[in-house]
Amino acid sequence: MSTVQAASAEHGDQEDLVEDLAHFGKATGGKIAMWMFIAQDGMSFGGLLFAYGVLRASAESWPIPSDILGIPLTALATFLLICSSLSMVFAVLAAQERNQAALVRWLGVTIMGGVTFLGIQAYEYTHLVHIGIGFAESSWQGEPINNLFGTTFYAVTGFHGLHVFSGVIYLCCVLRGAMAGKYTQGGHSYSPVELVGLFWHFVDLVWILVFTFIYLL
């Protein structure tokens, strides 16, 4: 917070920023709309996770996820995704401080985090298909298992993966604007970075739930 205030004071719009942070009523239309989008997206995930919960709870047999899914690798992916949330925070701060070089750097780090996550997911999918966990039919060590295990796994993580993919594209668009210096001009110009940040944090937050329900429990 102190860096923000220092930077703002330096550019003489501290009051503007403090007011902006203090009053919801002052939120820009884009910010309100992004929160609503997050609410509706949360409900979509809610629908899928509800379906997963009902199907798993009522299944006659369900394999232990940690036997089949590689927890350490996914834990690493989770760690990377959380780190990319942190770099996203730094990117927003950099935009507010009108530090273009730092903004571009932190956005780049965030994008790298997202891309690495997608890479690990792609590797994981190929590996799982190779050992017999398919989308419609699954077997484990030669024995057929409840095919809903694979189905729900791919449906939920795939839906999340699509979000990470969209997020990366969204971040790339913002990166382009950042390189052109659009978001470091003071006032509300940092808003688009903040919005992509909201979306990115949401995607990360949902992953914590997905990781818990699909992998750990």
């Binding site: 820009t28 239309g29 884009g30 309100i32 709309a33 609503m36 989008f37 609410a39 509706q40 997206d41 409900m43 979509s44 809610g46 629908g47 899928l48 509800f50 379906a51 009902v54 199907l55 009522s58 299944a59 006659e60 047999s61 989308f135 419609a136 039919e137 057929p144 298992i145 409840n146 095919n147 809903l148 295990f149 189905t151 449906a155 839906f159």
Partner: protein, 574 residues
């Protein structure tokens, strides 16, 4: 402020009329789109009624043209398709675009004093997503093996590949998904617009009830449409990729299977709020219109808003009353029954306020007023019969009978349709700068309301006597043959109802191009939309107006110059 800049009016035909970002043009696009689909869905209803009254006889006039293979007779598969697509079309492609798309787009910016929606491009995308959804739905009627036959609710296993083998069902799911995406885009846009772009002085407590209704509907759209989106995705996966989310283990060959009841949960988590998605704007519209045409303030404005907010909240927790017969646990069933009954409390508050708004008012029985009063009447009938369906004991007997069909047609279909008609008659002079013919309008009303109530009240009788819905030929069951004369009466009334809509079509088309030019404020009301000139200029307000009074300050003794109404931009005498 963002979104409030004035851009030059586009001159290119495509930018002006097709891919326009102007809320007024988009409202008219939604209006025409919705009316055309309302017509298609209506013709389907007429064919369903023909089959019910005259099972297995060729449909007159249009039958041989539409079904040449059977010489105009509806075969069972076609009959299934008709009632399925009738429901889907009327809800998703008829009432939704008309009430939320057309009236919402038209009234929100004009009534709150904004130059446009806050995200004009998103608004344009919302229309074209719905158009695409409509196109996919339309194409699904013509694919090999035909369109969906699973009922508008699309329950598995009827809607999985076990029963619905054609691609029509998949296209149906895609269409519902696209229309849902359109609703979400519209909802986010409407809410943000109302939150951010209200004119100075337009506090939440001065917001016209129409805007309140559409705002609350948008809340439900944004929160619950995604759930049916998830359900449709899972259904599409079951159909296209061979997964078994909704296919029960008992009919599976491999290990494990899914749960068809899961679909019903996902569907009704959305489906029950959907009922309120359609009725909240209707309540809002008539809350305003009853006040406007009684020349009295809306009685209990705050109570009406409070009741609508309460219904919005409650609508999320009552969906289980659609599933009493699915083997729901008794405790859950009773909880849902109680919560459902509680909804009648805010509904009663609204009724009381509407009637008290009318009470001793200086009623002006114009066409929009007649339709608004019609909403009170048909929603009252539908609401009272809802109590029997909310009660588990009676619902188990009445489930899936024509009693249910009569109930939901009166509540969500007829009430929403009447409010839509009221809205169209009311805003037409501002929208098209011409007046609609009042005599034809009143004819339309009376020839709509009487047959409509006849049809659906006969359905209550038949449903109570045990006539199930969705049967191809009721006369094949001995115990239903004695009801056949009622089916014939209902069909005659339905045809009269259908014919009355031709009066509306004639009136609409004639008034649109050849009607009497409308004055600026023919209804003498004070909301911001009526205080601007007709036709509405590009970007609505050159100067954003400042609001000083509420929307319903009628017959207030403090109104200057001896009028009985005051513009929201004028001040009352101190």
């Amino acid at each position: 402020m963002s979104g409030q800049h004035i851009h030059a009016e586009p001159t290119n035909f495509f930018r002006k009329h097709v891919f326009s970002v102007d809320h007024k043009v988009i409202a008219k696009q939604f209006l025409w789109f919705g009316l055309i689909w309302l017509g298609i869905g209506g013709v389907m209803a007429m064919m369903i009624r023909w089959q019910l009254a005259n099972p297995g006889e060729p449909v007159p006039v249009i039958g041989s043209m539409l079904f040449p293979r059977t010489n105009g007779v509806l075969d069972p598969a076609t009959y299934n398709t008709l009632f399925t697509m009738h429901g889907t079309i009327m809800i998703f492609l008829g009432l939704t675009p008309l009430m939320i798309g057309a009236i919402g787009n038209w009234s929100i910016p004009l009534m709150i004093g904004a130059r446009d929606m806050i995200f004009p491009l998103l608004n344009c995308l919302s229309f074209w997503a719905m158009f695409l959804g409509g196109a996919v739905g339309f194409i699904s009627l013509f694919v090999p093996l035909g369109a969906t036959e699973a009922g508008w609710t699309g329950y598995p296993t009827l809607s999985t590949t076990i029963n619905g083998v054609g691609s029509g069902e998949t296209l149906w799911a895609i269409a519902v998904f696209l229309i849902g995406a359109s609703s979400i885009m519209g909802g986010i846009n409407y809410m943000t617009t109302v939150i951010r772009l209200r004119a100075p002085g337009m506090t939440w407590q001065r917001l016209p009830l129409t805007v309140w209704g559409i705002f609350l509907t948008s809340v439900l759209n944004v929160l619950f449409v995604p759930v049916i989106g998830s359900a449709m995705l899972l259904l599409i996966m079951d159909r296209v990729f061979g997964t078994t989310f909704f296919i029960p283990a008992s009919i599976m060959q491999g290990a494990g299977g899914g749960d068809p009841i899961l679909y019903q949960h996902l569907f009704w988590i959305f489906g029950h709020p959907e009922v309120y998605i359609l009725i909240l704007p209707a309540w809002g519209i008539i809350g305003d219109l009853l006040s406007f045409f009684s020349r009295k303030p809306a009685f209990g404005y705050r109570a009406q808003v409070g009741a609508m907010v309460a219904v919005t909240l409650l609508s999320a927790v009552v969906y289980g009353h659609h599933m009493f017969t699915t083997g729901l646990s008794a405790m859950l069933g009773e909880s849902f029954m109680l919560l459902t009954m509680i909804i009648s409390v805010p509904a009663e508050i609204l009724f009381f306020n509407w009637l008290h708004t009318l009470w001793k008012g200086n009623l002006r029985l114009t066409t929009p007023m007649l339709f608004s009063m019609g909403v009170i009447f048909v929603f009252g009938l539908g609401g009272l019969t809802g109590i029997y369906l909310a009660t588990i004991g009676t619902d188990i007997f009445l489930h899936d009978t024509y009693f249910v069909v009569g109930h939901f047609h009166l509540t969500m279909a007829a009430s929403a349709l009447f409010a839509t008609f009221a809205g169209i008659y009311f805003w037409f002079p501002k929208m098209f700068a011409r007046e609609m013919n009042e005599f034809l309008g009143k004819t339309h009303f009376w020839f709509t309301v009487i047959p409509l109530v006849t049809v659906f009240c006969l359905m209550f009788v038949m449903g109570y006597a045990g006539m199930p819905r969705r049967y191809y030929d009721h006369t094949s069951a001995e115990y239903l043959r004695s009801l056949q004369h009622l089916n014939k009466y209902a069909t005659h009334a339905a045809f009269l109802l259908g014919a009355a809509q031709l009066v509306f079509v004639y009136n609409f088309i004639r008034s649109r191009w050849w009607g009497k030019p409308a004055s600026q404020n023919p209804w003498e009301v004070g909301t911001l939309d009526w205080t601007m000139e007709t036709p509405v200029p590009h970007y609505n307000f050159k100067e954003i107006p400042e609001v000083f009074t509420g929307p319903h300050e009628f017959s207030n003794p403090d109104i200057p110059d001896g009028k009985d109404w005051i513009s929201m931009t004028e001040k009352l005498k101190a």
